[in-house]
Amino acid sequence: MDLRSVKAKIGSVKNITDITAALETFAALKMRKTQKRFNETKEFRTTMARILRRLKKDLENNESVFLEERDVKKVLVCVVASDRGFCGPFNTNVLKFATKKILEMKEEYASSEIEVMPIGKKAIRFFKKSGANVKYTYTNVGEFFQYEEVKEIADLLVASFEQKDYDKIYFIFTDFISSFAQKPKQVQLFPLDRSITESFIKDDEGEKKVEHILEPTKEMVLNEVVREFMLYLIYQFVLSANTAEHSARMIAMRNASDNASDILGGLKLEYNKARQQHITNEVSEISSTKEAME
């Protein structure tokens, strides 16, 4: 390679390093912010789960609309991906997982209709292209930090189950385990799968049976409690997906920066070699001219 083209390449690689480094810093900031949020929601989660555990007996009698098992005619699958790329295998993983699960569902509920609700631009594009049955879509979810912002989605889901638009609602999102480990996960939201809430608290926190006074009526209280918890769960899942997205982006960008600096090292070596050769050529030219003149 000649000197000039190597130099141009070094320049462009340097530019890329700048961009990835900036993106990494950004993602790291956002990750810290969402992680903090995620941890702060813990209190609500455990309190709610404890209440539900104490209510176990009442809930087993199916006194809440949200626990009612109906004949499955229509299934809704919500899939959370990101709006933006540059986050490594994050979107591919969750979308692949979702496709697999939807295929499984098609076999399980062969006679029923399956609808997909993609959340995030990448998911929307993916499901529209693959010809899935899509009615509602949501975007801009990656910037969600507040409960209020998820409320629109949560309210829609709760209302559509109440009105029997859907008989089963699944939620597929990326579960945030740690900054380095995220895994796609599927949960059954409606009717509420109680193992979700059980997983929030440790077993030894099991309390003795208590008889709560449920005012005004058992049914009203149970419905309201489960509804609150539903809204919260959806918030929690979206937050988890966001935290996972920002972590994935940070790691992807860090890898890109590392790769770029590796390439930069190689290019510099090549540049020096080319420069050396150039000098050697010039020297040999001078000496041969000199010889010819003598």
Partner: protein, 83 residues
């Protein structure tokens, strides 16, 4: 009696209090120490918490209240403190 105010986003406070007054679906109730176990739905409105040293007032959009073992948990959807 420990009173906890929790929203989905975070725990707002966790303190010792004398009484809690709040509107529920079954009407307005006031919870004093050693209240029996109860679970009810909070209506939108004002919640008053009294301490030895003073009191605090919140406006909420509703939620769930639980009294368990002399511990009051208020799970609120959205709240605003009145000063």
């Amino acid at each position: 009696m420990i009173v906890k105010v929790i929203t989905p986003e975070k725990q707002i406070f966790n303190e010792d209090a004398k009484s809690v007054n709040l509107p529920t679906l079954a009407g307005e109730i006031t919870i004093f120490p050693n209240h029996t176990e109860i679970l009810s739905v909070i209506n939108p409105g004002r919640i008053r918490i009294e301490f030895d040293s003073g009191k605090r007032e919140f406006l909420s959009e509703g939620g769930v209240v639980e009294v368990f073992k002399n511990e009051v948990s208020l799970l609120l959807r959205k709240y605003e403190e009145r000063v």
